[in-house]
């Protein structure tokens, strides 16, 4: 057998893992994704590229369920995502089978991050080229959580985060405008963050809302309505800014 046991991810002289950093580059080129945690609602939003006319959009779901109470959105290589999502779904059921309890958000995040890390320290494989945003409510306690993983295998919890294309602008916006919200306000905050970098309109965004009852994908009409609300609020704010200037 040819020598496929040679590691692809090795240290550089100055301590970098270039393959991992290149994977992060792949993530930076992927579609924008945002997640916002509220007190009773967690919202995931993903940019949809609307250039494909002949494609059946129902077959391209960017926000997926891992279990009844956990959802995932990602930015980066979608084929790699399929593999990770499949393994995570199996782990969710396996956990239920062995300990008769659903997974906590942290558990499944740790599992996915662990998988991503394994592929940075094995022979003949390359890292997964995607970062994930994982949301859900912990069973029994009902505490909402938002976690992010990246190709290096690190993970942490966030109040709000963005990944993919122009994630820095979205994160800046969230840092400036984040506050504890619930219900519709959380949805609006997530969409406002996405609209910073995505063309406005329901057909360019996919939004899903996770509550204690489960995951709900918003349809285009709903998203359009919220976008219209946001634009109206923005216009009103602009007008308010201009009006005092006129008085002086």
């Amino acid at each position: 057998m040819a020598r496929y046991d040679r590691a692809i991810t090795v240290f550089s002289p100055d301590g970098h893992l270039f393959q991992v950093e290149y994977a992060l580059e792949a993530v930076r080129k992927g579609n924008a994704a945002v997640g916002v945690r509220g007190t009773d609602t967690i919202v995931l939003g993903v940019e949809k590229k609307s250039t494909v006319k002949l494609q059946d959009s129902r077959s391209v779901r960017k926000i997926v369920s891992l279990d009844d109470h956990i959802a995932l959105a990602c930015a980066g290589l979608k084929a790699d995502a399929r593999v990770l999502i499949n393994r995570a779904r199996i782990e969710c059921q396996s956990h239920r089978l062995t300990v008769e309890d659903p997974v906590t958000v942290e558990y499944i995040t740790r599992y996915i991050a662990g998988l991503q890390q394994k592929y940075t320290q094995s022979g003949g494989v390359r890292p997964f080229g995607l970062s994930t945003l994982i949301v859900g409510f912990d069973p029994y306690t009902g505490v909402p959580s938002l976690y992010q993983t990246d190709p290096s295998g690190t993970f942490s919890a966030w109040k709000a985060n963005a990944t993919g294309r122009n994630s820095n602008s979205m994160r800046e916006f969230l840092e400036k405008n984040y506050k504890e919200t619930s219900g519709q306000e959380t949805i609006k905050l997530a969409i406002r963050a996405l609209l910073e970098v995505v063309e406005s309109g329901g057909k360019n965004i996919e939004v899903a809302v996770m509550t204690n009852e489960g995951l709900r994908q918003l349809d285009e009409a709903e998203i359009d309505a919220i976008v219209a609300e946001i634009e109206a609020e923005k216009a009103a704010a602009e007008a308010a800014k201009k009006a005092p200037a006129k008085e002086t």
Partner: protein
């Protein structure tokens, strides 16, 4: 001494099981639920070795759930039955599961269905099925009184007649029975027939 039986009616399927958990001469409990709700529209009544029963039915349930997450739609009853049979067959010549299963399900396009799945991986699609010593009495009663397209009330009455036969003619008859039903509105517990309190 465990009995599980089931039948298909008009737009629904019924599964009845005894609720005793027994170890030689000791009755551990008489409210053991042996009819697992596999998913929203499937019921799986299982009898046999207690450990194998729990292990196998839970394993099937999690795999059915996994299929739904992976593919966005639930398995049909026929597919679930064949999956179960396949698992039993694979294990048969190595480490057999001593579980007998009556699978009842409702599919939107094909309606209610009932499957007889043996511990040696026999699979039959049937209108009425029964396992255990109680099957001698239940099957005879159903052969006499069953007719296609029964209403829920007729089917429940027939189930009660079967339970009566089992109670009066089986030397160590189980004390309590649970009846579960599956129709277009889903799978749910229907009622209990008790002679002893839990």
């Amino acid at each position: 001494m465990e009995c599980v039986f089931g039948m298909v009616g008009k737009g629904f399927a019924l599964v009845v099981a005894d609720t005793s958990a027994v170890n030689s001469i000791l009755v551990h409990k008489s409210n053991e639920d042996k009819i697992m709700v596999l998913d929203s529209h499937k019921l799986m009544g299982a009898s046999g070795e207690a450990g194998d029963r729990a292990q196998f039915t839970e394993y099937v349930q999690k795999n059915v759930a996994l299929y739904q997450y992976r593919n966005g739609i639930p398995l049909t009853t026929k597919a679930a039955a064949n999956f179960m049979r396949g698992e039993l067959a694979t294990a048969l010549r190595k480490n057999p599961y001593m579980v007998n299963i009556v699978l009842a399900g409702f599919d939107k396009d094909t309606g209610p269905s009932l499957y007889f799945i043996d511990y040696i991986a026999t699979l039959h699609k049937v209108d009425k099925a029964a396992f255990g010593y109680g099957s001698y009495f239940a099957l005879s009663m159903m052969d006499r009184h069953y007719h296609p397209n029964m209403t829920v009330d007729e089917a429940i009455k027939l189930a009660e007649q079967c339970i009566e036969e089992i109670r009066s003619r089986l030397v160590v008859a189980p004390q309590n029975f649970v009846i579960k039903i599956v129709d277009k509105d889903g799978a749910r517990e229907h009622s209990w027939r008790r002679t002893t309190k839990d």
